[in-house]
């Protein structure tokens, strides 16, 4: 007897509910953490696993990851060499290592970082954190982020005190150990809170020791008044991995969040950015570049909420797709009623290097205020023949000229990354993917 898609989805959902009961009885969360876990699983029951035509997953086939029961992994051993290889220069004394979502103090070093660390279970005793996380669950629309909260146990909170500043960037390295056999799932969870006028340079990197894992990560960033974050996320998972990460950003008055992200792709990689410009003067920049070959996929899902006047948001995404890889960008900027004098730009450029590659784009604006300046656009193109000819007339071979042009396409995003060590790394690894 064959089962229909709906039946198998139902089965996966009930399997997850059973698994959650088991999780609660094993980890015995108490107090605020228990309420959070329970609220999240109830939210999951409302959201359910995405069906094929779900509005949030139009371009993404979630079949492989919407398949409970999950086999959770909480950190097998990992070699120190592997970890060191992925820690950037300048970050040696300012790095947090999470292996399969679990913080490893012995591998980490934060002697140079002006931060305070605490387990999320403890952070939940603070009323503002508790109410913030409760509100995120009530409004959660991403089922995978919801699962992260339902099984939240090992999360970490990073507190950047008022006016704190640090010259060296803080790196969070998420190592997935993977599995030689069946797929394992990990649930990294980090919450960053910046006090008034605090500044943070933050590099988040995902790396995998071997394939066969689903990393389902959530990062919350709460920026206080006048706080600033320089952010870079590097997704460099194993090719044979699934990656979902949700980055939720809440910006207070005059705070800034500048992000430039890079993705290497994997079997399935989906980034969900949810930003709330809550108070006047907040500013968001969200840049992203992905370079995909083979059957790799990267999908970006962006929702930016302008909730107050005089806020600025700027997005630029560039994707290079070769072979039969796939990318998509589904981005909406929502300008609430009353968010007057909003300035918002969104630009998506795709470079197709193969007839079998696929790029979907859905730039979107929803404007409920009447005095705003918003732009959006998307382009899909091949290598520019005039540029190619120009370079060839200077003696460069077709191969070298094409490489130069594809690299330059990505370079304009990479150059917006504020960390020279990361830029160098991307030029030596991400851009090398373009060399045949």
């Amino acid at each position: 007897m064959t089962t229909t898609a709906a039946e198998s989805t139902d089965q996966a959902e009930s399997a997850l509910l059973d698994q959650h009961k088991q999780f609660l009885s094993e980890t015995k969360p108490a107090g605020a953490l228990l309420s959070l876990n329970e609220a999240a699983i109830q939210r999951f029951e409302v959201l359910k696993f995405p069906y094929r035509k779900h509005e949030m997953y139009t371009f993404v086939n979630t079949k492989d990851i919407a398949a409970a029961p999950y086999v959770f992994s909480y950190g097998a051993s990992v070699s120190e060499d592997f970890v060191r290889k992925h820690v950037y220069a300048d970050c040696e004394k300012s790095v947090l290592i999470l292996v399969d979502g679990v913080y490893r103090e012995n591998l980490s070093d934060i002697s140079n970082a002006s931060i305070r660390l605490l387990p999320i279970a403890e952070a939940l005793s603070q009323p503002d954190i508790k109410s913030y996380l409760a509100s995120t669950i009530a409004n959660e629309n991403d089922v995978f982020a919801c699962i992260n909260s339902a099984f939240l146990n090992h999360g970490l909170m990073i507190d950047v005190p008022e006016k704190a500043q640090s010259d060296s960037p803080l790196q969070i390295l998420h190592v997935s150990t993977g599995s030689p056999a069946g797929k394992v799932t990990t649930l990294p969870r980090v919450l960053v809170r910046l006090g008034r006028m605090a500044e943070l340079k933050l590099i988040v990197k995902y790396a995998g020791v071997q394939g066969n894992y689903f990393v389902n990560s959530v990062l919350d960033v709460l920026a206080g008044e006048d706080a600033g974050v320089q952010f870079t996320q590097i997704q460099q998972d194993d090719r044979n991995a699934w990656h979902c990460s949700k980055t939720r950003i809440a910006l207070s008055r005059n705070s800034r969040f500048y992000a430039s992200n890079a993705s290497y792709g994997s079997k399935l990689t989906r980034h969900h950015y949810e930003a709330h410009l809550k108070e006047t003067g907040a500013e968001l920049r969200l840049n992203g570049v992905s370079v995909l070959t083979g059957a790799e996929q990267v999908h970006n899902f962006v929702r930016i909420h302008h909730e107050a006047p005089h806020c600025v948001s700027n997005q630029q995404f560039k994707n290079i797709v070769n072979d039969h890889s796939r990318s998509s960008i589904d981005g909406t900027v929502i300008v609430n009623q009353g968010a007057q004098l909003t300035v918002s730009d969104q630009l998506i450029n795709n470079l197709m290097l193969s007839d079998n590659a696929h790029a979907d784009n859905k730039p979107n604006l929803m404007i409920f205020a009447d005095d705003v300046k918003c732009t959006h656009g998307a382009t899909i193109g091949q290598i520019n023949e005039d540029q190619l000819f120009y370079l060839k007339t200077r003696g460069l071979s077709t191969k070298v000229a094409k490489e130069l042009l594809t690299k330059s396409f990505a370079e304009s995003i990479i150059q917006t990354i504020a960390f020279p060590a990361v830029v160098e790394d991307l030029e030596n690894t991400l851009l090398k993917k373009l060399e045949a």
Binding site: N384, F389, Y390, L391, T393, G395, L405, K407, S408
Partner: protein, 248 residues
């Protein structure tokens, strides 16, 4: 050096160059003038090997080698330089790095070793001074956001670095103010020597006040209708093209 024999060429099946023959020797400067649409730029693109233009018949040789069967990059390595009328902008490609790549491609072709970045920087600095170019253009993306004059200077800078046998400058003077024109012309003059040659394609006589040609050819409807020495350019300036084209 360059021999063009009865060249017929065009674009998407339409013949634009309708039988041109031209012989350019070492040390010579030839000006090709003519009204808009006469086929001047098409001739330049054919010489550079633009893929959208097709040669219907005729021959073009450079020092006896068949130019028409070479890819654009091969022509460049053999010593043909095309100065574009509209140089393309390539954001993300560093100007100095690009120049070094082009320079080293040529050195490798000539069996020399690549020049390392420091030595190249010295060479570049010196050449930029000749053209009165600010050093900041090293760090900019190739032609990206350059003004019209800066783009043309950057073309001549590339020619100065690559030291071609034959430079084909397509309307290098258009869009330049008189000061920029002087600087560009001065740069071109410094590059002239007895072993190289230049073809200047221009609509106006103005450029030829600064770069003295040995020969002037008038192109109309795809044919050279008159050739002469530099005095011909002055006649054209005084009388326009009509007195020539009317009879052809």
């Amino acid at each position: 050096m360059l021999e063009i024999k009865d060249l017929r060429a065009g674009f998407e099946g339409t013949e634009i160059v309708k039988g041109i023959s031209l012989s350019v020797k070492k040390g010579e400067v030839h000006a090709i003038m003519g009204p808009n649409g006469s086929g001047k730029s098409t001739l330049a693109k054919i010489l550079a090997g633009h893929p959208s233009y097709e040669v219907m018949s005729g021959q073009v040789t450079l020092d006896g080698k068949n130019l028409l069967e070479m890819e654009p990059e091969k022509r460049a390595l053999e010593g043909v330089f095309m100065g574009f009328q509209y140089p393309v902008e390539i954001p993300g490609v560093n100007n100095a790095e690009f120049l070094r790549m082009a320079y080293n491609a040529k050195r490798i072709h000539e069996g020399q070793e690549e020049l390392d970045p420091l030595d190249f920087d010295e060479l570049l600095t010196e050449k930029m001074k000749i053209l009165g170019m600010e050093q900041k253009y090293k760090d900019r993306s190739l032609n990206d956001g350059f003004s019209g004059g800066e783009k043309k200077k950057n073309e001549i800078l590339q020619m100065a670095i690559l030291e071609p046998k034959l430079g084909v400058l397509d309307e290098t003077d258009s869009g330049l103010d008189i000061d920029a024109l002087r600087v560009v012309a001065n740069g071109v003059n410094k590059l002239r020597n007895e072993n190289n040659a230049l073809i200047l394609i221009t609509h106006y006589q103005r450029l030829l006040e600064y770069i003295q040609p040995d020969f002037v050819h008038v192109l109309s409807k795809g044919k050279i209708i008159k050739s002469g020495e530099k005095g011909l350019a002055l006649e054209l300036e005084a009388q326009g093209y009509d007195w020539l084209t009317a009879t052809h």
